[in-house]
Amino acid sequence: MSIKLVVKKVPAVGLEADVIDPAALGKKGLSEIGRLQVWAGRRTMPLADPFDISVQVPEEKVEIHGDASRVKRIGQGMASGRIDLFGDAGMHLGNRMSGGEIHVSGSVSSWCGCEMQGGSITIAGNAAHYLGGAYRGSSAGMQGGSITVSGAAGGEAGCRMADGVITIGAGCGDFAGVHQKGGVIVVHGPCGARPGAGMTGGQLILNGRVESILPGAAYLEEVQEVEAAGTKLKGPFLKFKCDLAEETQGELLILTEPNKHLRA
């Protein structure tokens, strides 16, 4: 068993719980964990206030139960260990993590996995905006590790991605892979407008219907399959060089079948 946190009551103004880091909690006893500080607006409170905490065997594994959709920064900067979240999570889940695993059975809010260096995040539900993206002004977003979302993602998934893998089971919003410079993004459902805007490198693979592509996406050829992050994806794909507005371009691959309208 591991450290178990059950949401009791999240304050009206929301909660920031960046202390929920498996490696840090794993080394502490129950009372010590309970005294860790979390923030509700400008007020701090002990972790034991909003959460019921139980510790069988101190271990780098944290379970969170209940509705944590307004609890931000869970797993921020974690380097090892595991978080299992049986419900929804708030913003910045696992941002800047360098290792370890986060599994979410519900959905997550925006900036999930931003600027992560390594480790893995799997989300059964949906993700909001800037999945694996970059914070304002940063020159790079995700730089390693993997994010797998079974549901849909919002806008600017993989913004400024330098490396790593993002897989989105359903659709995504506008500007998928904006300013992507490395790594792999695969979207299985319908994709919004302007995918690959400002791309300078990396691979953006869209298996669903794409609303529209940019003038800066230059059609190259049709390819039967694509090798991405160690797996072979069966096509055929329309292969584009994108974005001609930049110095260098990345690879935009769009499944032919649902996207006849793009080549009309």
Binding site: V13, G41, R42, H129, R136, G137, P215, G216
Partner: protein, 435 residues
């Protein structure tokens, strides 16, 4: 006895024209010269009182009763100090001195502070944080520009003297007048500003990013598939690229047509990159058509005081910045705010109705010379002198030039200035000792 005050700075829009001449009679504004229609209204309203708040009010039960400033300030501080996460919002139509005090108040409270730029040119600033801002003061354009482009803005309605005082009509050091400059207007509406353009480009609504992307690709020599992009023909786009490449000095001014339509900060970023790329073979600058007369001032003050330009969260005692999370609309609609101070702005009118509704459910303080939906909805109302007419201060023009605001007539009996009111709250909060 009438007297004339020269070189008055007009406190309305981002043009911050400082050549207004005001005729005073009996200590009241009689009429003004050089000011545009907006300026006329701005100075005229000061004569009337029925549209003004003249007395501090505090809600007791379900009615608001007149009180002294002292009592209103105490009640305001009580509300703010009691909140877990207060928001101090507005700031765009007041002096830098009030803004400086407001940021210290937000820090001391552990509150968030944001100005109207998060729902105006905030996305433009976000674009600047991605790719930079190749700009110039308005005078550099007046003296040198031979191509002036307005994209997604209608100066004749929002910045009436921009074209005549700064960019296309005036005599510059190297330009004699209108005949020396090419005017290009890009707008889905056939606006009055487009009527005088040498080239009018009419895109489909919400396709600015596609058009800018095409222009940038063509500038790099790429062939763009036609026949049209965003409703604009390839030939027109090619004509634009040629004109831009041949310019001796080009200036692109953009408005909320880019920052508010689909793509928001990415639209602005594409325009910023287009102008940056043009500098490899020509000389181009770009400028945002900032709305209120001191919205640019808040971004400057907030940047030197906190490091960030707007949407700053002090809940942890130090500044954090993440528009989309720490910006006013998101904070309120996500339910993270439990008290609000609004100054020099009317969010209950201008923000989405859902947000206005939530403001009505929380303790609210409003500081404004005029009756607005926000002051009507507030629990504490503190009237203030009209900055720039009844109170002095500093403001920053849309191009970052700081200009003095003047006091040219007395405010109604006993009214305090915005900065005095915010200082009043600040000193009372400091007096409450550390909590």
């Amino acid at each position: 006895m009438a007297s004339m005050v020269p070189d008055v700075t007009c406190p309305f829009c981002g043009c911050l024209c400082d050549d207004v001449r005001v005729v005073l009679e009996g200590g009241k504004v009689k009429e003004i010269y050089n000011g545009c229609a907006l300026s006329q209204s701005r100075f005229a309203e000061v004569r009337r009182t029925e549209n003004r708040n003249l007395q501090p009010l505090v809600r007791k039960g379900d009615t608001k009763v007149p009180v002294s400033y002292d009592e209103a300030l105490n009640r305001a501080v009580e509300i703010l100090a009691d909140a877990d996460h207060a928001l101090l919002y507005g700031w765009a139509s007041t002096s830098c001195e009030a803004q400086i005090a407001g940021i210290e108040l937000a820090e001391l409270l552990g509150a968030s502070i944001d100005d109207t730029s998060s729902v105006c040119h905030g996305p433009s600033t976000i674009g600047i944080q991605d790719v930079g801002y190749v700009t110039a003061t308005l005078g550099a354009v007046k003296n040198r520009a031979d191509v002036v482009m307005y994209w997604g803005c209608n100066p004749f309605h929002a910045h009436p003297r921009h074209i005549s005082r700064y960019t296309v009509f005036p005599r510059g050091y190297f330009r004699k007048g209108r005949e020396d400059r090419k005017l290009v207007v890009v707008d889905p509406r056939r606006t009055s500003s487009s009527r005088i353009a040498d080239l009018y480009v009419q895109p489909e609504v919400g396709h600015d990013y596609e058009i800018l992307n095409a222009l940038r690709a063509m500038l790099r020599g790429a062939k763009v598939a036609g026949p049209t992009v965003g409703g604009v023909s390839i030939e027109t786009l090619q004509q634009m690229v040629e004109m831009m490449k041949r310019a001796e000095f080009g200036a692109l001014y953009f408005g909320l047509g880019l920052s508010m339509s689909r793509g928001k900060h990415r639209n602005v970023e594409a325009a910023l990159q287009l102008v940056r790329d043009l500098n490899a073979q020509a000389k181009w600058v770009i400028g945002a058509m900032r709305g209120h007369y001191n919205v640019a001032g808040f971004n400057e003050v907030c940047a030197w005081e906190t490091g960030f330009p707007f949407s700053v969260d002090f809940t942890r005692g130090y500044p954090r910045y993440n528009p989309g999370e720490t910006s006013a609309v998101d904070l309120i609609s996500n339910g993270e705010i439990d008290a609000i101070l609004t100054i020099a702005s009317d969010p209950v009118s201008n923000l989405p109705a859902e947000v206005a509704g939530k403001i009505r459910t929380m303790p609210a303080i409003a500081v404004d010379p005029f009756k607005t939906l926000t002051t009507e909805a507030a629990d504490v109302v503190m009237p203030s002198a009209v900055t720039g007419i009844e109170g002095p201060g500093t403001a920053y023009r849309m191009d970052g030039v700081p200009i003095e605001l003047r006091r040219i007539c007395e405010p109604p009996q006993g009214l305090l200035r915005d900065d005095e009111i915010v200082q009043g709250m600040l000193q009372r909060l400091k007096g409450m000792g550390s909590r």
